[in-house]
C-alpha cells in the first residue's frame, strides 16, 4: 500500500521500477530525519514553513487540479485557524486541541454556508468571488481587533506540548508538522482512489455526464470546499502555535495568492506537487531576501510563465523527467 503511494507521488503506475522507487524513498526518508541535525536553524525553520504551506496548499491544489476550481479563499481559513488557536490559548487558556477544533469547526461551517451559494458560480465568477472573500476576511481580521488584535496582533501563543515536551524550536516542530503533512497527503491519495475521488475527477472533466451517473455536483463541490477549508484551518492553527505571534499581515490577499501559486507551480495533479510548490514558495524569499521585495514579482512572472508554457507545473515536469529516465512511456497520473 505504501508502494502505490510512492509511485503515485512520482507519477508512475504502481509496480513499475520497484527498486528505484524504494531507493528514492529510503534516501529521502533518511535525509528528512537527519535534516535538523545537518542544517542551520533558519533552514529548518524554512522547512517547517514548507510543511505548513504543503498542508494549506494541498487544499487549494486539490480544488484546482481535481475539481477545476480556482480558489483564492484559503487565506481566510488559514486566518480563522490561526486566530482561533491564538484566542483560545491566550484568552481562555484552553489546551491546544480546543483552539484547533474550534478553528476547524468555524472554517468548515463558514465554508459550507458561504460555499453553498457561491459554488453555484463557475469559472471566473467563482474565482473572483473567492478573491472578494479573501479581501472581506482581511478587513474583518483588521477591524475585529477585540479577537484578533488587529494590526497589533496576538502574541504569547504557547507552543504545543506533546507528552510534556514543549515543541518550541524549529527542530522539534519539524518532527510534528511533517508527519502531519505526509499523513494528509496519504489521506488525499486514498480519497482520489475511491468512489468520491472518481466522482470529483469526473465532475471536472464532464459535469453533465457525471450527473447522469448520479453525482450531485453541487453538493460534492461544497464538500470538497469544506475539506479544503479544514486543511487551511489546520495549517493556520499549527502556524499560530509555531510562531507564537500572529498579526493581520499574514492573512491577506498576498497569502491567498501564495497558496494558489504553490498549487499552480507545484502542479496540482501529482501527489508531490504541493510539497514542491511549498518548497519553492518558502525557499525563494529566503534566497532572494537581500534583493528586497522582489520575490513577489518573481512569483507573478513564474505564474504567468507556467500558465503559458508549463500547465502541469514542476510536479508534472518532474514526473515526466522521471518517466523518461526510467525509459518507459507512461501517461502522467491524472
Amino acid at each position: 500500500m505504501a508502494e502505490p503511494a510512492l509511485a503515485a507521488a512520482t507519477g508512475l503506475r504502481a509496480g513499475v521500477t520497484h527498486g528505484r522507487v524504494w531507493a528514492l524513498g529510503a534516501v529521502l526518508a533518511v535525509l528528512w530525519v537527519c535534516m535538523p541535525a545537518l542544517a542551520s536553524r533558519s533552514i529548518v525553520d524554512m522547512l517547517v514553513f514548507t510543511a505548513l504551506y504543503t498542508i494549506a496548499g494541498l487544499g487549494v491544489s486539490f480544488l484546482l487540479g481535481q475539481c477545476g476550481i480556482v480558489s483564492l479563499a484559503q487565506s481566510v481559513f488559514y486566518g480563522i485557524g490561526a486566530y482561533s488557536s491564538a484566542y483560545c490559548a491566550t484568552h481562555f487558556g484552553w489546551p491546544m486541541p480546543a483552539g484547533l477544533l474550534i478553528g476547524i469547526g468555524l472554517s468548515a461551517t463558514i465554508a459550507a454556508v458561504v460555499g453553498w451559494p457561491v459554488l453555484r458560480l463557475s469559472g471566473y465568477f467563482l474565482a473572483l468571488a473567492t478573491l472578494a472573500l479573501a479581501i472581506i476576511a482581511h478587513v474583518l481580521f483588521t477591524e475585529w481587533d477585540g479577537i484578533t488584535g488587529g494590526t497589533l496582533g496576538v502574541g504569547g501563543i504557547p507552543p504545543i506540548s506533546l507528552f510534556g515536551f514543549a515543541l518550541n524550536s524549529p527542530a522539534r516542530f519539524y518532527f510534528l508538522v511533517w508527519p502531519i503533512a505526509i499523513l494528509l497527503l496519504w489521506l488525499h491519495y486514498n480519497l482520489l482512489h475511491s468512489r468520491t475521488g472518481f466522482a470529483v475527477r469526473a465532475m471536472r472533466d464532464a459535469p453533465a455526464a457525471a450527473r447522469v451517473l448520479g453525482v450531485d455536483i453541487h453538493a460534492l463541490k461544497v464538500k470538497v470546499f469544506v475539506l479544503s477549508a479544514v486543511l487551511g484551518a489546520l495549517a493556520g492553527s499549527l502556524f499560530a502555535h509555531y510562531v507564537s505571534f500572529v498579526s493581520v499581515d499574514s492573512f491577506g490577499v498576498d497569502r491567498a495568492i501564495n497558496f494558489l501559486l504553490l498549487a499552480v507551480l507545484g502542479g496540482s495533479r501529482t501527489l508531490a506537487g504541493p510539497i514542491l510548490g511549498a518548497l519553492f514558495i518558502t525557499m525563494t524569499p529566503h534566497l532572494l531576501g537581500r534583493f528586497g521585495d522582489i520575490h513577489a514579482l518573481l512569483f507573478a512572472v513564474l505564474l504567468i510563465v507556467s500558465v503559458i508554457f508549463l500547465p502541469q507545473g514542476f510536479g508534472g515536469v518532474a514526473a515526466q523527467l522521471w518517466q523518461r529516465a526510467s525509459g518507459r512511456k507512461l501517461e502522467p497520473k491524472p
Partner: protein, 295 residues
C-alpha cells in the same frame, strides 16, 4: 442624520461611481472584443496614475501632459500584454482557466513590480484645480471631482459612438462575436484583439489618472479597483456604457451611504459583499442583459 453629511456622502459616492463606471467599461471593452474577463484592468489604472505622477514630479511637465502620458501608458501596457502574453496563451489552446490565471498573474505581477520599484509609500497626484472645491447645497465637492464626472461621461459617450458608428469599432465587435465570419470579410482578427486591449488599457489608464488625486497611488490599488469595476459591470450589464454608469453609480452610492452606518474601515467589505451577492443573484445585471452563459 445630518442632511449635509448625507449629501456629502452621496456626492462622494457618485464621484467614485464614475470611476467604477470607467473601470467597468474597460472590462466591458475587453470582454466584448476578446471574450476574456480582464482581471488586471485596475492595474492599467495603477500604471496610468503612476506614470502621470512621474511625468509631473520627475519630468516637471504640466498636468495635462502628465495626464495624457498616463493614459497612453495604460494603452501601451494593454497593447504589449495582448501581444506578448495573451496571444501565446491562445496559440496553446488556453482554456478559460488559463486566461483567468494569466490575467490574475499579470495583475499580481504589476502590483509586485510597482512594490519593488517604488516601495510601499503612497503617492499623491495633483488634481485638476488643485485642492479647490465648490459648494453644492452646503456640501463640498472638489473641482477635480466635477471634472472627473464630466470627462468620464464624455469618454463613455465617445466609446458608445465608437462602437456604433465607426467601422473599426464594429470590426472589433465582429471579430469577437464571429471570428471566422469576420476573417472572411477581411477583418484582421488578431489585430482587432490587440486594439481591443489597447483601448481597454487607454480607458483604464484614464480612470487611474482621474482617480489618483482622490485616493492615493499605491501598489495595492489595482486589485480593489478591478473588483469594484467588475461589480459595476455585472450590475449594469456589459452591453452598454449606459449600463456601466448605472452599475458604477449604484455601487458608489451604496458604498458611500453604507459607510455612514458602519465604520469607514468596512467600506471595502460592503463593495465586496455586494459583488458576491450580485454575481449570485443577478448574473445578468439589473438591466437584464445576457452577459455570459452559465455565469
Amino acid at each position: 442624520m445630518n442632511s449635509t453629511l448625507l449629501l456629502q456622502s452621496a456626492l462622494a459616492g457618485i464621484t467614485n461611481g464614475f470611476v467604477y463606471a470607467l473601470i467597468a467599461i474597460g472590462i466591458a471593452v475587453i470582454f466584448r472584443g476578446t471574450r476574456i474577463i480582464n482581471a488586471m484592468q485596475g492595474e492599467f489604472s495603477l500604471i496610468g496614475g503612476m506614470v502621470a505622477y512621474l511625468v509631473l514630479e520627475r519630468l516637471g511637465l504640466a498636468l495635462p501632459l502628465a495626464a495624457v502620458g498616463g493614459v497612453f501608458a495604460g494603452g501601451i501596457l494593454g497593447f504589449v500584454i495582448e501581444l506578448t502574453l495573451v496571444r501565446p496563451t491562445r496559440k496553446r489552446g488556453g482554456g478559460e482557466e488559463s486566461y483567468l490565471l494569466l490575467t490574475l498573474g499579470v495583475a499580481f505581477g504589476i502590483s509586485a513590480a510597482v512594490l519593488f520599484i517604488f516601495g510601499r509609500d503612497a503617492r499623491l497626484l495633483a488634481g485638476i484645480g488643485g485642492e479647490a472645491s465648490a459648494l453644492f447645497f452646503d456640501a463640498a465637492i472638489r473641482i477635480h471631482a466635477l471634472w472627473l464626472m464630466a470627462i468620464s461621461s464624455l469618454v463613455l459617450l465617445l466609446l458608445w459612438l465608437f462602437y456604433k458608428r465607426t467601422r473599426i469599432g464594429q470590426s472589433m465587435l465582429a471579430a469577437s462575436i464571429q471570428e471566422e465570419g469576420a476573417l472572411t470579410i477581411g477583418i484582421n482578427v488578431p489585430l482587432m484583439r490587440t486594439l481591443t486591449f489597447l483601448l481597454g488599457g487607454l480607458v483604464g489608464g484614464l480612470a487611474g489618472v482621474l482617480v489618483s488625486p482622490m485616493i492615493t497611488i499605491h501598489y495595492e490599488m489595482g486589485l480593489l479597483l478591478t473588483l469594484k469595476g467588475f461589480a459595476a459591470a455585472i450590475l449594469g450589464g456589459l452591453t452598454s456604457p449606459f449600463g456601466a454608469v448605472v452599475g458604477g453609480l449604484t455601487l458608489g452610492l451604496v458604498e458611500s451611504l453604507a459607510v455612514l452606518s458602519f465604520a469607514s474601515g468596512y467600506k471595502d467589505v460592503v463593495a465586496m459583499t455586494l459583488l458576491i451577492v450580485i454575481m449570485i443573484l443577478m448574473p445578468n445585471g439589473m438591466l437584464g442583459r445576457r452577459m455570459r452563459k452559465g455565469g
